[in-house]
């Protein structure tokens, strides 16, 4: 567990033991970015500015990510945040900007349905 992209601790070891085993066997060169304390719901911001929330099921050294029970949060200035159900998703690492650990307590206090904001800008390399 000591080497990898550092997302290890976000994965529920019970759910995806076989996958983690596979991941841990890989010889990663990257140094560990350890301990995101076992919160497994994550918020991914993609390069095109989308925000996808889901349960992290797996990942690899290129930050490819498997998300389960995922939904997109669509921000707009016209109406509150819309939730779009996506289900099981694989996101290619190339397209990922940020992986955030979602604080469940904090998240439940936010009134997303009343939140208005411009969508995030796409990443320009």
């Amino acid at each position: 567990m000591s080497s990898g992209t550092g997302l290890e601790s976000l994965v529920d070891p019970q759910v995806c033991a076989p996958l983690m085993q596979y991941i841990c066997c890989e010889q990663f060169n990257s140094l560990s970015l350890t301990t995101f304390l076992c919160a497994e719901t994550i918020s991914v911001i993609t390069n095109d500015g989308r925000n996808i929330v889901g349960v992290l099921k797996g990942f690899d050294q290129s930050t490819n990510i498997i998300l389960d029970e995922s939904h997109e949060r669509v921000f707009s200035t016209k109406e509150g945040v819309q939730q779009l159900v996506l289900g099981l998703y694989i996101i290619r690492g190339d397209n990922i900007s940020i992986v955030g650990e979602l604080d469940a307590d904090l998240d439940s206090t936010v009134e997303w349905s009343k939140m208005r904001a411009y969508p995030l800008k796409p990443v320009i390399h």
Binding site: L7, L31, S32, L33, S43, I98, G100, V110, A117, I124
Partner: protein
């Protein structure tokens, strides 16, 4: 590898990471890896009114490829040391 080593020494300090989508995130540098992926703790988005998207995120992993700038604490920069290190690297040792 020089900047990798350099960033490793900054672990624990407060930095602001500006991304290529204009988002700026401030937080405590938790770790960094060879790709200069960055992990921040106690994060807050600099202009939260404009960017409420990450309101419920306190710890985050930022992919190295989307980082535009890392704003460092002044006391974390030793120019002399960096000069020497870059020269040494340029010589290939």
């Amino acid at each position: 590898m020089l900047f990798f080593s350099y960033f490793k020494e900054l672990v624990g300090r407060e930095v602001t990471v500006e991304l290529k989508n204009d988002l700026a995130i401030r937080g405590t540098l938790h770790s960094v890896d060879q790709y200069l992926n960055i992990k921040l703790e106690n994060t807050r988005v600099v202009d939260q009114d404009k960017y409420p998207h990450m309101m419920s995120v306190r710890n985050c992993f930022i992919r190295g490829s989307v980082v535009r700038y890392v704003q460092l604490p002044p006391e974390g920069v030793d120019v002399e040391l960096l000069h020497d290190a870059t020269r040494r690297e340029a010589r290939g040792g």
